[in-house]
């Protein structure tokens, strides 16, 4: 597969603080990647380094096949970092004209992209009169001007109202559907779960997981069980070696599966052993639970 960005053992230190520790991953063409991590886990720093605004301490990274300088590569990349940054005294149109001049793109693209994000009729308004949602959409239009091979978004829905969040998410999905590779940094799990196919999980600058989102949820799920005779049920569960951790909360028993087992077989198994269940639910852990497990236990 064609790689777009390769990062090898990247490290960034701010004085005593290590913001990014020995990070390596690769981004391939055509996927939607998420970088997931709590605040201060090094997401923005990592993006800052590959976007040429933060200096790395050690390690290396290269764009595309590695035969191109970073600032030339950035002309094929679209990126928005944190807040939308434009010249407040210029109109949306003039701001995009400036970006066109920097990236060496024809001005005719401006109309196309402003229409895509629904700002064409506000093109002659000054940037400072825009609402945050509009600013964020303008930033996306600006990042798309050069029809980038990869779109990098850092917390794109931060600070937006639900309507704004919905607009941005549907925009991202629309862009991804056109085959553009997307790298999305976020601390919002459902955002990553809804939008991304691959994920890199960071904590305190270290990589905890990288791979497909559905493979990250590696366990076979868990069972929620209730029975009239709880002790008998507990004893049975403890004796069987197909269950891992078992939690008891009042009359509800949560048992984690070590191997695949569907609800029907569980019910059959219990009944065969003389246990009558009053409650049986089989669940898969959500990304959120998985994420909390990953970031807490390490």
């Amino acid at each position: 597969m064609e790689s777009i960005l390769t990062i090898n053992n990247l490290t960034k230190k701010f004085g005593y603080l290590t913001a990014v520790k020995n990070l390596s991953f690769t981004i391939n063409k055509g996927n939607v990647y998420g970088i997931l991590g709590p605040n201060g886990s090094g997401k923005s720093t990592t993006l800052g380094i590959v976007l040429n605004v933060v200096n790395k301490t050690s390690g290396d990274f290269h764009w595309f096949d590695g035969n191109i300088s970073t600032h030339d590569a950035l002309k094929k990349v679209g990126a928005i970092i944190e807040r939308p940054n434009f010249y407040p005294y210029m109109t949306a149109y003039d701001n995009l004209k400036l970006v066109c001049n920097i990236k060496g793109v024809d001005f005719s693209k401006i109309q196309e992209k402003l229409e895509l994000v629904g700002l064409w009729d506000r093109k002659d308004n000054k940037f400072r009169t825009y609402s945050l949602g509009m600013k964020q959409r303008l930033a996306i239009a600006s990042a798309l001007l050069n029809d980038p091979e990869i779109l990098i978004l850092d917390e794109p829905t931060n600070g937006l109202d639900p309507q704004g969040i919905h607009q941005i998410r549907s925009l991202i999905k629309q862009i991804a559907a056109n085959g553009t590779t997307i790298l999305l940094a976020s601390h919002l799990l459902d955002e990553v779960e809804k939008v991304c196919s691959h994920v890199v999980v960071l904590r305190k600058g270290e990589k905890l997981y990288s791979g497909r989102v559905d493979e990250m949820i590696s366990s076979h799920g868990y069972l929620e069980l209730k029975a009239e005779n709880q002790e008998q049920l507990l004893k049975f569960l403890n004796d069987k070696n197909i269950f891992g951790k078992i939690n008891v909360e009042d009359d509800l028993i949560t048992a984690f599966l070590d191997e695949p087992l569907d609800a029907k077989s569980v019910n059959q198994l219990m009944f065969d052993n003389g246990i009558v269940l009053t409650h049986l639910v089989k669940r898969k852990e959500s990304l959120e639970e998985q994420f909390l497990q990953l970031t807490d236990n390490n």
Binding site: N52, V53, N55, H71, L74, A79, N85
Partner: protein
């Protein structure tokens, strides 16, 4: 290079404050120049005509116009300082770099713009001086007209030098107001060096020689004050008034070295900095 200048001009031209300041720094010296060249009648009591003092004669007019016009550089200095300060406060510097401008290109676009405006200012002042001189001057031989045009070169170098210093201070301090305040501190610092040099060497002559190497003084020294020279032409027999007002190659060289140092340091600063 044209692309970089075009970028910067768009940033400046669409900003109302900088547009007004650019306008002032170019139009004001002309208004003063033209006003001073016409005969002013004070309600019939007396007439003031600066032309009669002989200051619009070639070749001294080159000296006088470039000296006084260079004071208006302060207006454009505010533009230079704020064009860096704004990039930091709007975070557009970061966005420019992400959009694919290299750090080197960023500094160069600022530097080229400085050179561009200095060049325009020099050409304008040159043309205006030429015509006012032609109108008023008692001497109009070609050799006399073009005798001291070296002041124009000095004027150009002086502008580029001063604005490069502003560029560096803007990059260093990130805030326009601080950068302008620092200019004043530098002015005081140069006098402290002068005083220190006097304490060490014991003569003002050597102290001046030391001070002439410092940025602000070396720029000022390019065009010496012309008042004494005007008086000199009125009383040619007073020998103790004579002084050396010429433009020398080593004066220009010192300023050019400073220009190089400031531009390079601005680049180094940006390169080392995490945005």
């Amino acid at each position: 290079m044209l692309r970089l200048i075009k970028l910067e001009l768009q940033k400046l031209w669409l900003n109302r404050t900088s547009k007004i300041l650019i306008f002032i720094s170019f139009i004001l010296p002309f208004t003063v120049l033209i006003l001073s060249s016409i005969k002013i009648n004070f309600f019939g009591f007396f007439t003031l005509e600066l032309g009669e003092l002989g200051i619009f004669n070639f070749p001294i007019i080159w000296h006088i116009t470039t000296f006084f016009a260079s004071y208006f550089k302060l207006f454009f200095a505010i533009v230079v300082v704020s064009m860096i300060g704004n990039e930091y406060s709007n975070k557009t510097l970061k966005q420019n770099l992400i959009d694919g401008l290299s750090k080197k290109e960023f500094i160069l676009s600022k530097f080229y713009t400085i050179v561009f405006f200095s060049l325009v200012a020099t050409i304008l002042i040159g043309v205006a001086t030429f015509f006012i001189g032609l109108y008023y001057s008692s001497y109009t031989e070609v050799s006399i007209i073009f005798r001291e045009t070296s002041f124009l070169l000095a004027y150009f170098v002086k502008l580029v030098g001063f604005f490069s210093l502003c560029l560096f201070l803007g990059m260093l301090l990130k805030r326009s107001a601080f950068a302008l305040a620092f200019l004043f501190i530098l002015y005081i610092f140069e006098w402290l060096v002068f005083w220190g040099a006097y304490e060490v060497f014991g003569t003002t002559e050597t102290a001046w020689k030391v001070k002439n190497f410092l940025p602000l003084e070396s720029m000022y020294k390019l065009i010496d004050q012309p008042m004494q020279r005007v008086v000199m032409t009125k009383y040619p027999d007073k020998i103790d008034l004579t002084y050396d007002y010429g433009v020398y190659w080593y004066e220009i060289l010192i300023v050019i070295v400073w220009i190089g140092v400031f531009t390079f340091l601005s680049y180094r600063l940006l390169k080392k900095r995490d945005l």
